[in-house]
Amino acid sequence: MKEPILIGNGQGFWGDSIDAPVKLMTGGPIHYVTLDYLAEVTMSIMQRQKQKDPKRGYATDFVQLMKDTLPTLIEKDIKVVASAGGVNPAACRDAVFAVARELGLTGLKIGIVEGDDILDRLTELNEKGADFKHLDTGEPLASLQDKVLSANAYISSRPLAEALDQGAQVIITGRATDPGLVLAPMIHEFGWKPDDWDRLAAGTVAGHILECGAQACGGNFSRWWEVPDFAQIGYPIVEAYEDGSFVITKHAGTGGMVTCATVTEQILYELGDPKNYISPDVRVDFSSIELHEDGENRVRVSGIKGIPSTDTLKVSMSYNNGFKAAGTLTISGPKAYEKAQKCAEIVWQRLADAGFTFEETNTEYLGLNSCHGDINPLPAQINEVVLKLSARDANPAKLTRFGKEIAPLVTNGPPGVTGFAGGRPRPQEIVAYWPALIDKKLVETRVTVEEV
């Protein structure tokens, strides 16, 4: 049997720790580092950037990371698989090549995977039978199609593995699935076939456990008081074997912990029907997973069953669905909650008196019940509370007006009101999410490997 390979995930989402990928690369043995940068909102922002400038539309943080780490990656022969390409993987590659040249590096091979971005193909795909009806509600996309800001199919891990087969050290893709970034190196290293369902399922579960970074290593863990050294929390590494079994671990000397309990929590993260977890590569039965602790900070995962995947790919679309704005005030002292309720009443009444009503409004009391509603009783004495007022409307001008009605409360309402900083709330665009399915045959991916 081949030696196991070590794959670590250093970025659970765009905005995750900037040090984590570097620590994965330098803190111990590692063969592959995966990095996920994409979310629906990110894709729409990147499409806008690309429309303004054809050389933009990717995760710029990734280029900085490559600048900082390329010499290490080359020295240690570590490969990187990143969904940093956004809606412009070629431009992202060119930017990394520019950095490599600046550093005087030669022989670096970068592979890009394209074809997931179907924004410019929607009409053509309609003609070929794709109706993009909403995956959950079944509603037709119809007139919303003109408002779509981004549209990406979640592609299989095969083309990513193919780029590795062609010798690329850095793989830059657009909308691959998060687990697919981890599965691709296993397909490449172990030569798993498209119908090796159990092993593809195992690699997909490994990717699922890794996809939110430190959440597998004690991050977000319910018994947080048991977690050592959060400040230096390690990011998860899978030690993957050719037979599809694997161990979840982290670098020695890092904080956090990898136990059956932390791994089980992450297995359940964003899970639907456990018997039918659908990826472009395979469908996984999560009710077949077995966990065993295999030494300190090592959890062995086995028994995973897969079944053939579906004939469709999931498509993630985003579209503009109006605007929202939110403002907060801190209310303190005697009868803090009653005063906060009065403040809310005053704001909404002043706006109504001025002729402004909104499609939706929300009044929340942070510190009391904004997260859990009435599940907990209110405390007997409330020292202070943060009032959060928010509104949503198709017309951003109305929300600008809403934003002007918060600060005056500091001087023309009840006493003990403060915490108004950072200026008036401004309308923000609502980027709504539209999931759909598309026939796999309608999405073709392209792999290009080039050398600097």
């Binding site: 629906e40 909102v41 959950d136 959440q215 977000n220 863990f221 319910s222 018994r223 309990a261 089980t264 929590e265 992450q266 297995i267 359940l268 993260y269 964003e270 899970l271 639907g272 029907d273 456990p274 018997k275 999560f286 009710s287 077949s288 997973i289 077995e290 966990l291 028994g303 669905n321 929202k324 939110a326 939706e360 409004t361 929300n362 929340e364 942070l366 904004s370 997260c371 859990h372 509603g373 009435d374 599940i375 907990n376 959060k388 928010s390 509104a391 949503r392 609502i430 980027v431 709504a432 999410y433 999931p435």
Partner: protein, 110 residues
């Protein structure tokens, strides 16, 4: 019988799927799993999240990991970027479920 919180015998993680959240509830051992399997029904979860969950609650069992997985439909005020709620992604729903009170036999060892 005596009353405990789920917090005493289980742990949890939650996340979002569009306008629904999922809450995975993991028992601390086989005896605790038998209890949560019996006590933590979809109806009780829906009642616990009154005012937060507007839709139905689905429950899936995963005895292999001593877990139950709940889908709380229509529980995020629109979800993602559309929601006006502080917790638009159900990140805190796991902690909320652990506050549920259930009855266990007097001699049940925590």
């Amino acid at each position: 019988m005596r009353t405990i919180q789920l917090y005493d015998i289980a742990h949890a993680r939650s996340g979002d799927k569009g306008d629904s959240s999922n809450v995975g509830l993991i028992a601390n051992g086989a005896a605790a799993f038998a209890i949560i399997r019996k006590e933590v029904t979809p109806d009780r979860v829906r009642a616990h999240f009154k005012g937060i969950v507007k839709g139905v609650v689905d429950r899936y069992e995963m005895p292999n990991l001593l877990c139950l997985n709940f889908i709380l439909h229509d529980s995020l005020g629109g979800g993602g970027s559309e929601s006006l709620r502080n917790d638009a992604q159900g990140k805190t729903h796991g902690q909320a479920l652990l506050l549920m009170e259930i009855d266990v036999p007097e001699d049940f060892q925590l």
